[in-house]
């Protein structure tokens, strides 16, 4: 069952309402289009077209591709593709924009927090997702999925979040519990209202 514009109006109020009134009129004048809704514009997206772009990975593992990688392979990937900017000890390299990836655990409430993958990131899926879409900075999207799994395993192991014998794949990665998984709360602003 899908949500119609009318349901949305009932749920989301007047701004959507303005849009919906317009659409309602148009809906009366236009027959149902050949695809999707009343305007019939655009074309159905094919499974291949979607797959080519659908690279996101969610915390529960949805979106993770086949493949796998572990610490040793990850160390090689890191040394070749990441070390120049993120440093031999994963502590970052000044002047490259590549920051520290590990360390800082337990510092978030200290007044001198060090936010890293290890200390701050709530989900391991984000490390895989971000590395696959945006790293290495000079050649984004150039690593194979196996390489991304491997370098993810390497960074997580260097951060003492998983063991060096752990292999990362679509099964194991969503099970990794990050140190700061409970560190986030919803927006409670306004803080000051007088």
């Amino acid at each position: 069952m899908s949500i119609t514009m009318r349901d949305a109006v009932a749920k989301y109020g007047p701004r959507a309402c303005v849009l919906a009134v317009g659409l309602g009129l148009a809906g009366g004048a236009l027959a149902q289009g050949s695809h999707g809704g009343p305007y019939g514009l655009g074309t159905p997206a094919t499974a291949e077209e979607i797959a080519a772009w659908d690279i996101d990975v969610m915390p529960d593992g949805r979106g993770l591709p086949p493949g796998e990688g572990g610490y040793e392979a990850g160390k090689e990937v890191y040394t070749e593709h990441c070390l120049a900017c993120h440093g031999p000890d994963l502590g970052g390299v000044a002047g490259t924009g590549g920051g520290a990836l590990i360390g800082g655990r337990g510092t978030l409430a200290s007044g001198k927090p060090r936010k890293t993958v290890e200390s701050y990131w709530p989900y391991a899926s984000t490390l895989f997702d971000f590395t696959r879409r945006a790293m290495p900075f000079h050649a984004p999207g150039s690593l194979s999925d196996d390489d991304v799994y491997a370098v993810t395993a390497y960074i997580l192991a260097e951060g003492n979040i998983i063991g060096r014998d752990a292999v990362m794949n679509a099964e194991t990665l969503p099970k990794v519990v990050m140190p700061n998984v409970d560190g986030f709360i919803p927006d409670s602003r306004p803080d000051v209202f007088d």
Binding site: Y39, L41, G141, I185, F193
Partner: protein
């Protein structure tokens, strides 16, 4: 304030970064001043802005004198966006340039030199530039001066080859070309976009000198596009859907999760800005516009919308754009840009030539709706007067305020504070720090500083960035 013991001192690396940044701003200021050295405006009251050039040029022409940049003289290169032309002694005695010699697309005057200023980040691909608010007039930001924030540079995209895919929890996954999108019923709205990092250097102590540095990550344009609700209704959103992932086609493949409510309410797929196609830096050919949400969510170069039941937890909504609070927990999905205002004239690095009449003016805005009221203080918040607002006052849009002031020559502290239509009043920086703490990062904290800005006016007329709480 920086000596307050609960506020951590800058470490060495941060100190170096602050110094580099202040130095970069200084260089930008020096370059602007050097541009104006040639003319007599260096002693004027707007020593750093294009505003001075305009008034001075006008006075110079009216007075029958010439500017330093005379025809035949050695000429500096024209400012970005302008072309250098010879300046006649008397433009009434010589024909001007032939019509349409610009090829049909105009440029600004060679005497207008304000430019965006780049924050000196390590890479030029992940960096940002700031709008010169001090030289702005009215509420619209010229498209070429709209602030920028990129995480993987500015992609060059042929609109004829660009498409948007809508998929996930929908009845019919769809693909739209730009031509398809432009056939849908369209809307045009005036909205500001503000980076939630606007003002990040100003939490602990006044750091940057100009309003461009302290507030230049906000800009207003007229945006035209298709309501996202129209596109979602076309594809048919399924029961249980609650979030949408928006993804860009840049090298960062930038992604943010957006609550579905926002998509139904007022989100727009924008293809035009101020009457023409989006500028490349603003997402050409297609960007998401989420009125009132932090700038990072307005995904540029938009290529994909995926409907889902949960947020995706992308890097930009976990590692970045989250607000670490006192006690170590961090606020996540803090989308709304709260009400804020700033005086743009007089502002930092300007110099008032002497006591007398001035019109104080500035901008106010709120991500929650319309600006209801702006008050201005010239005594550091002891007393407030209501400023006049230029209409029409539009929701989630810069609003221009003005108020007359007769300066008696004594030191003064100028402040503005606004209230939006929800009744929310812009707080002081101190109140925000008391509520949230400083997260102890480079600047004390990072995102969502909407506190009251103070400009100190010294008895010699010079204006500086100060922290002042009544």
């Amino acid at each position: 304030m920086s000596s307050d013991p609960v506020w951590p001192e800058y470490d060495e690396r941060t100190r170096a970064m602050v110094d580099a940044m202040v130095a970069a701003e200084q260089r930008a200021l020096a370059a602007r001043k050097a541009k104006l050295e040639d003319c007599e405006c260096k002693e004027g009251m707007f020593p750093t802005g294009g505003r001075s050039a305009t008034r001075r040029s006008f006075l110079a022409v009216a007075g029958g004198t010439t500017l330093g940049l005379a025809a035949g003289g050695a000429r500096a290169a024209a400012p970005p966006g302008a072309i250098e032309f010879p300046v006649p002694d008397d433009p009434t005695r010589i024909q001007g340039r032939p019509t349409h010699d610009d090829g049909g697309y105009g440029t600004r005057s060679q005497f207008e030199s304000e430019v965006r200023w780049r924050f000196p980040t390590a890479t030029k691909e992940s960096s940002w530039t700031m709008t010169p608010l001090e030289s702005g007039h009215g509420i619209i930001t010229p498209s070429g001066l709209h602030f920028e924030r990129h995480h993987g540079g500015i992609p060059t995209i042929d609109p004829a080859r660009h498409s948007l895919i809508v998929h996930g929890m929908v009845d019919q996954p769809m693909k739209y070309t730009m031509a398809d999108l432009m056939r849908f019923p369209s809307v045009s709205r005036f909205h500001f976009i503000e980076c939630s990092g606007n003002g990040l250097t100003e939490w602990k102590e006044p750091t940057l000198k100009t309003v461009q540095g302290t507030h230049g990550l906000t800009s207003t344009s007229e945006w035209t596009g298709v309501p996202l609700a129209t596109i979602l209704a076309e594809a048919g959103v399924q029961e249980g859907a609650a979030w949408v992932l928006a993804e860009g086609a840049d090298a960062a493949v930038m992604t943010r999760s957006i609550p579905l409510d926002k998509c139904w309410a007022d989100a727009m797929l924008a293809y035009a800005q101020n009457g023409e196609a989006l500028r490349p830096e603003q997402g050409h050919p297609l960007r998401l516009l989420l009125p009132g949400f932090e700038g990072n969510t307005h995904i540029k170069w938009l290529r994909r919308i995926e409907v889902s039941d949960a947020p995706f937890m992308s890097r930009e909504e976990t590692s970045k754009y989250t607000d670490l609070l006192m006690g170590g927990k961090a606020r996540q999905f803090s989308f709304t840009m709260e009400a804020k205002s700033v005086i743009t004239f007089p502002s930092g690095e300007m110099k008032l030539p002497g006591p007398g009449f001035y019109e104080i003016t500035g901008l106010a805005w709120s991500g929650r709706g319309r600006v209801r009221r702006v008050e201005v203080s010239t005594d550091g918040g002891q007393s407030w007067r209501v400023a006049s607002l230029e209409g029409p006052i539009m929701p989630v849009c810069h609003t221009r305020f003005r108020i007359p002031w007769r300066w008696n020559g004594d030191p003064a502290v100028l402040q503005s504070r606004c209230q939006d239509e929800t009744g929310y009043v812009q707080p002081t920086i101190k109140q925000l720090v008391e509520a949230r703490g400083l997260d102890g990062g480079k600047w004390g904290s990072v995102y969502h500083l909407n506190g009251i800005q103070s400009w100190g006016v010294a008895s010699d007329g010079s204006v500086t960035n100060v922290h002042h709480y009544a």
